[in-house]
Amino acid sequence: MNFLLRIWRQQNRHLKGELVDYEVTEISPDASFLEMLDIVNERLLDHGEEPIAFDSDCREGICGTCCLTINGEAHGPDHPGAACELYMRMFNDGATIYVEPFRAKPFPVIKDLVIDRSALDRIVQAGGFISARTGSAPEANSIPIAKHDADLAMEAAACIGCGACAAACPNASAMLFTAAKVSHLALLPQGQAERSERALKMVKAMDAEGFGSCTNTYECEAVCPAEISASFIAKLNREYARASLKASLGE
């Protein structure tokens, strides 16, 4: 297959970037999108040009490293799935394909298609955990958890932390990411002690990083490779309201 790629090239976070055209030929429809980029890079090297920087690691959709906006969609057209799970047979022969990094103000470009997503780590550091000192845990079966609650917690916990939600959102909101973690831990009995504090701190950290607010466009849900439901955002709103109310009552 042959394609015209228009790829975002940017030397570093301070210089301006631009879309550069690359004609790419003889690509197998069975190649993954990232393998197609590997081939492009090999050919660039053959011509003494600098390869395109892009991030990936597991290449099976679980580590959340890859972060490409393909034809304007976070992770490309084959939802649900990360960019590494996209195969060239999804495109028409001869197609023009736009490849850009995830776009959101809190995700500055490091180089070409590689971005800095440490903002997401800082949201978790603000309170996205249960303080369980190693060695102090009670016997695992001492607290039964209803299967429904455990399954729902798992649905939220499945987030791979890629940041596609913020990239797809017109407001660059990281609500789905934050909601997934707040919901996961709030649904479990072990998460109750820090439940209110966690919701307040994580939302505060999210705002401090410069992510926007949620206006219910559901773009996040549409691109999420882990199929996290936007209903968790409603859950986050309830958790936040509950925590604010408790705080205002001095509890």
Binding site: S28, E42, A140, A146, L188
Partner: protein
């Protein structure tokens, strides 16, 4: 040799060793802990859990990972589950049984004391993870669910959908985040360790390179912990993440740490086969598919190019059913893998490149209906279709074995310290618990056992005598090691050749896969030992690494890793050649039973092979040390799952 080659296994009965060892281990008081700095390289299950726990105890921890966040370490990709001897199913499980299954699964090539300790702390891991909020699968009554896994007759595997590794890693990542927020742990993402610094015979620091700026930095500490995972990517194609590499452990080896059993590499029988030369990794499909799928290839080479439905029943060779009538398609991992390689070597493989065998569900669908098969394996069929574009309900799946775990690693004693004082090694990066073959759902268990419970208890045995001995990075050893690292980077960039990095790595991978993969023999290993140095020469004369060192340079990053694989590969083949027996995943064709099972030679090889670096390029260069394995509790038997 630097340091000591004493396994330091405590005396006394097996069941009391760990308790007695803890009772008599040294301690560092809470006030003094903040005076110690500990470097941890790697943030997967082992490194992440160790960093979180040591930070929580009050040590000052610096944790390094090459990924952009500690949450992305390759532990995240583990699917199946984690073993623990909880006996929640009341089916007769116990610490002893988990211990015995692990020793037997490892084909009697691991240490009794280490494995018993692993089984002992397995229950605490589940407690800890549940308390952190890991959403394990549960029964309707709210209690934890279990599933059964290979190599065991009890159900002791805890799981979270098919994403157990992800959930365990996120639990430990969150604990780590809490410590980062308190300031006890300082995190260095996108930073790669390029060398180990030895001061007066002790590991006291590392040299790193920032992957975003290219800056070379020196970090001093009171102790260094490597938790850098396995070396499966030496084969180029494996189920490992792209970035997984041997550099940290290999650099430590070159500084004097012993490398143990490097030839013990596990190959998983059911992966999606390679489709072309451009392929960058292999994807695992759950082994459970073999419960309903029948494995076959055409009888005639001429039929291989035909569509499977054009090949009549009489033209198909259901080779597992033919060769192993009692086990059939459920033959053990190593046997199924080797059998697939054999038929493909005969030219009867199917699909691109002839490297695949059919896994056919037609009979199961005819028997139970498509709906039933969809309920059992629907998600796997979807993954398969996404990658191959084929509908496995209509055409048979194609599968092929792939490398996915390495049992070998740096040699450690009972305290998880290598022979270099101060250098500790945990998780897949060490060699200690799985012998010659790892059982399913045991990798996650070992990583977390090491990080949460073992290392935090044993590290003070070293630290207690080291108060105030942390050198400054002005020490000549730091300056000299950093100079060597810079020099190496410079040399790599100066080669300025014409051959692509991937093509060299791919050639190395093919050679190893062929000569040191599922089946090995002396002639093939000798051939590989001749070819690897040539390929290494080719690298240093003709590789093309563009760009600069002081920059974000992904080519340079990968070149450094490939350069180390090119040296390490030789050690692996040498180990495979010297171990003139078959055991577990190490199958020497010269040593097999009439049924094709691995034939051990317990008189000559009931020991750990630990290699000391003394140069590359000649077969007798590295020096072999042997640690005899003492079996006081279990009796060595022919491993059989029939």
């Amino acid at each position: 040799m630097i340091g000591s080659f004493d396994s330091k296994i405590p005396g006394g009965p097996l069941v009391n060793k760990w308790r007695a060892h803890r009772d008599h281990s040294r301690l560092v008081s809470p006030n003094n802990r903040r005076k110690f700095e500990i470097i941890i390289v790697g943030s997967g299950l082992a490194g992440g859990s160790a960093a979180a726990t040591l930070g929580e105890l009050g040590y000052r921890v610096k944790c390094f990972c090459y990924q952009d966040s500690p949450r992305r370490a390759h532990s995240i990709a583990a699917q199946g589950g984690i073993n623990a001897a909880k006996n929640y199913q009341n089916d007769g499980d116990s610490v002893f049984r988990l211990f015995y299954d692990t020793i037997k699964g490892g084909d009697f090539r691991s240490r009794e004391a280490n494995v018993y300790r692993l089984a002992e702390v397995s229950g605490n891991i589940i407690d800890q993870c549940v308390e952190q909020g890991v959403p394990f699968a549960r029964e309707y009554g709210g209690l934890l669910a279990n599933r059964s896994f290979g190599g065991a007759q009890v159900s002791r595997t805890f799981y979270a959908r098919g994403q157990t590794g992800q959930q365990l890693l996120l639990g430990c990542y969150q604990a780590l985040c809490r410590q980062i927020a308190t300031g006890n742990v300082q995190m260095f993402p996108q930073t790669e360790m390029l060398d180990l610094v030895i001061v007066d015979g002790h590991a006291k620091g590392i040299i790193t390179r920032s992957l975003t700026t290219g800056k070379i930095d020196m970090h001093a500490a009171d102790a260094v912990v490597l938790a850098t995972g396995g070396y499966g990517n030496v084969f180029y194609l494996s189920t490992n993440a792209r970035g997984c590499n041997v550099t940290a452990t290999y650099r430590a080896y070159k500084r004097g740490a012993l490398f143990a059993n490097p030839c013990f590499t596990q190959i998983h029988p059911t992966c999606i086969p390679q489709t072309g030369d451009y392929q960058s990794k292999l994807t695992l499909m759950s082994e459970s598919l073999r419960n309903d799928g029948r494995v076959w290839v055409p009888k005639q080479i001429e039929d291989c190019a035909k569509a499977p439905d054009e090949i009549p029943e009489s033209g198909r060779d259901y080779y597992l059913e033919r060769k192993y009538p009692s086990y059939g398609n459920l033959a053990p991992r190593d046997i199924s893998s080797r059998a697939a390689k054999e038929v493909c070597d005969e030219g009867r493989g199917v699909g691109p490149g002839g490297r695949g065998v059919y896994l056919d569900f037609a009979d199961a669908i005819a028997r139970s209906g498509e709906e039933t098969i969809r309920e059992r394996y629907g998600n796997l069929f979807e993954v398969y279709e996404k990658i191959t574009g084929e509908n496995a309900y209509e055409v048979p799946m194609r599968i092929y074995p792939a490398v996915h775990y390495t049992m070998g690693g740096l040699w450690v004693d009972y305290n998880l310290m290598s022979n270099i004082p101060g250098l500790h090694v945990i998780g897949e990066a060490n060699f200690s618990d799985h012998g010659a073959n790892r059982l399913g759902a045991s990798a996650l268990m070992q990583g977390l056992a090491d990080g949460y419970f073992v290392l935090p208890a044993t590290l003070p045995n070293y630290l207690a005598g080291q108060m105030g001995k942390r050198p400054s990075t002005d020490h000549p050893a730091f300056q000299e090691t950093a100079r060597e690292v810079r020099e190496r980077v410079r040399r790599m960039l100066e080669v300025n050749g014409t051959r692509s990095l991937d093509s060299i790595h791919r050639e190395l991978g093919l050679l190893l896969w062929d000569k040191c993969g599922m089946a090995r023999n002396a002639a093939g290993l000798r051939e590989a030992l001749e070819k690897i140095p040539q390929l290494r020469d080719e690298f240093w004369k003709n590789v093309r690494v563009p760009g600069r060192g002081e920059d974000f340079n992904q080519s340079l990053e990968r070149a450094g890793r490939v350069a180390d694989f090119l040296e390490f590969a030789e050690l692996m083949c040498l180990d495979a050649l010297e171990r003139d027996e078959s055991c577990g995943a190490h199958f020497r064709e010269e040593h097999q039973t009439a049924e094709g099972e691995a034939l051990r030679d317990d008189d000559k090889f009931t020991d750990v092979f630990a290699w000391e670096f003394r140069g590359n390029g000649t077969i007798d260069a590295p020096k072999l040390h042997r640690e005899p394995l003492q079996f006081e509790t279990v009796h060595l038997t022919q491993r059989s799952y029939k």
